[in-house]
C-alpha cells in the first residue's frame, strides 16, 4: 500500500503534462487510423492461403486436411476457438502449435524441421507468419470463444495464471508488472490490463498483426517470446506448454472480443 501513495500524488499534480500526453495520444490514434486503409498483412494472408494449399514436405501434401478444431480442413471460424484441447495429441494447443502438428502428420516433416524458422528475419521469410495471417483472417469479425471446460484446458489456465503473476529474472518482473493495471504505458505505447476484459477483448484479438517496426507480421507466439526477452526472463520456447498456458489464461479474459486480425501495429 505504501508504494502506491507517490503514484497517486503524481497523478493529482500532472495537469499540464497529462493534457500534453492526451494530445499526443490523439495524434498517435490518427497515425494508426491513416495506416488502416492498407494493411501489408494482406500480402501475408495471400501467401498464407497459397501455402495452405501447396504440397510440401516429404509427403508432398498440402495442409488442406489440417484439423484446427472444427474438423479436417475447416478454416473459417477456427481461430476464434483457439487455444483448445485436441484429443489426437491429447494436449491443449494454439494455432501455431496446431500448424506444427499438421506439418508433421500431414506433410511428413520431422518435429525438429516443423518448428524451424518460426519468425522471419531480413532476407528470410517465415511460412508460419503467412499461414497464421491466413487462418486468423478467416475468423475476422467473429467473437473469440476459446473453451475452458476440458480438465487440460483448466490446468493450462492455472499454469498460465501462475506464470502471469510470477516475478522472476534480474528485473523481478512478471507479466503483471506491465499488464496488471489500467492506464499504464511504456514511453508512448499503452499497455493493456490483460485481466480486464475491457482491455483484453480489444487487444488479444488483434494478433497476429503486421508490425511496422518489424516490417513483417508477428504472431502471438512472437509477442510472448518478445515479452519474455523484454523482461529478461529465460527464452520462451516456440509453441512450448508455457506459451500456450499463457494464451489460455489471456483468452479467458478476451473471450467475447471481436477478432480483428491480422491487425496493424507499431
Amino acid at each position: 500500500m505504501r508504494y502506491r501513495l507517490p503514484v497517486l500524488v503524481l497523478a493529482a499534480m500532472c495537469s499540464g503534462a497529462c493534457v500534453a500526453q492526451q494530445d499526443t495520444q490523439k495524434e498517435i490514434e490518427r497515425y494508426r487510423q491513416l495506416l488502416a486503409e492498407g494493411n501489408p498483412a494482406d500480402l501475408f494472408e495471400a501467401r498464407g492461403e497459397e501455402l495452405w494449399k501447396a504440397p510440401r514436405g516429404p509427403k508432398k501434401a498440402s495442409l488442406e486436411q489440417c484439423d484446427l478444431g472444427l474438423g479436417a480442413g475447416v478454416v473459417k471460424g477456427a481461430y476464434a476457438q483457439l487455444p483448445r484441447y485436441f484429443s489426437d495429441t491429447d494436449r491443449v494447443q494454439d494455432l501455431e502449435s496446431r500448424l506444427v502438428t499438421c506439418r508433421v502428420t500431414l506433410q511428413g516433416f520431422t518435429p525438429g524441421d516443423a518448428v524451424k524458422n518460426p519468425f522471419s528475419a531480413p532476407g528470410r521469410s517465415s511460412d508460419m507468419e503467412a499461414l497464421a495471417s491466413y487462418v486468423a483472417a478467416e475468423s475476422k469479425g467473429m467473437k473469440l470463444d476459446a473453451p475452458l471446460s476440458h480438465p487440460k484446458e483448466v490446468e493450462a489456465f492455472r499454469i498460465g495464471e501462475q506464470l502471469f503473476y510470477r516475478r522472476a529474472g534480474p528485473h523481478d518482473f512478471a507479466c503483471v508488472s506491465c499488464h496488471g493495471e489500467t492506464g499504464r504505458r511504456i514511453r508512448l505505447q499503452e499497455l493493456p490490463k490483460l485481466t480486464d476484459p475491457k482491455d483484453a477483448r480489444k487487444i488479444f484479438t488483434t494478433w497476429p498483426a503486421y508490425r511496422v517496426s518489424q516490417g513483417t507480421v508477428r504472431t502471438m507466439q512472437h509477442r510472448l517470446y518478445d515479452c519474455y526477452w523484454q523482461m529478461r526472463h529465460p527464452q520462451l520456447d516456440y509453441v512450448s506448454e508455457a506459451s500456450i498456458a499463457l494464451e489460455v489464461f489471456m483468452a479467458k479474459y478476451a473471450n467475447g472480443g471481436e477478432i480483428q486480425a491480422p491487425g496493424l501495429k507499431r
Binding site: 499526443t24 495524434e27 498517435i28 490518427r30 497515425y31 494508426r32 491513416l34 495506416l35 486503409e37 504505458r185 511504456i186 514511453r187 508512448l188 505505447q189 499497455l191 493493456p192 487487444i203 508490425r211 511496422v212 517496426s213 518489424q214 516490417g215 509477442r223 518478445d226 515479452c227 523484454q230 501495429k265 507499431r266
Partner: protein
C-alpha cells in the same frame, strides 16, 4: 505514344539534370516502357539541391498544396502521407524529406485525367520537415509540414 513523347519533351525542354542524364545515357531506353530514373535527383542531400535537380529551383510556397499526415509517427519506418494539389494543370507531385540521408523520396507523374492526389508511405530517419513539391503548368509550388518521429514502447 504517350510515354516516349513525354520522355522527349522532358529531355529536350528540361533544365540541368534531366538533359544531362539523357546525354550521359543514364536514361535507359528500350522496351514498351522507357524507364527513366533521375539518379542525380535521388542523390541530393538538401531540399534546395533536390529542388534544383528536379528543375524546381524557384519553387514558391502555396496553400493550394495540402499535406495530410499525422503530426506524430509512432514509427519512422512507415509514415502515411497524402498530398493533394488544388492547382490547375498539376503535372507532378514529389515528396522530399529534409533530414533523410537522401532527400528525394518519390516523384509522381500525374497525367491528365488523374486526380492530383497521392497517398503513400515513407520512411523517416528522424523528426523532420516533409516537403510536397508540385509542378503545375510548368511552375513549381510547395508545402511543408513537420512530422515528429517518436521512440515507441513495445508494439503491443
Amino acid at each position: 505514344m504517350d510515354i516516349r513523347r513525354r520522355g522527349i519533351l522532358k529531355a529536350g525542354g528540361g533544365t540541368g539534370v534531366l538533359a544531362l542524364a539523357a546525354a550521359a545515357g543514364l536514361i535507359r531506353a528500350g522496351g514498351a516502357f522507357a524507364q527513366q530514373w533521375n539518379k542525380a535527383a535521388f542523390e541530393t542531400k538538401t531540399v534546395a539541391a533536390t529542388l534544383k535537380a528536379l528543375g524546381g529551383g524557384g519553387s514558391v510556397e502555396s496553400a493550394q498544396v495540402q499535406i495530410i499526415a499525422p503530426d506524430i509517427a509512432e514509427n519512422g519506418a512507415v509514415v502515411p502521407i497524402t498530398i493533394e494539389s488544388g492547382l490547375a494543370k498539376t503535372q507532378s507531385i514529389a515528396i522530399l524529406i529534409e533530414k533523410n540521408p537522401s532527400t528525394l523520396s518519390a516523384d509522381f507523374d500525374i497525367p491528365e485525367g488523374t486526380d492530383p492526389f497521392i497517398t503513400t508511405r515513407v520512411k523517416m530517419a528522424e523528426t523532420s520537415n516533409i516537403y510536397a513539391v508540385v509542378k503545375a503548368d510548368g511552375k513549381y509550388f510547395h508545402a511543408v509540414k513537420e512530422i515528429k518521429v517518436t521512440l515507441g514502447g513495445c508494439g503491443g
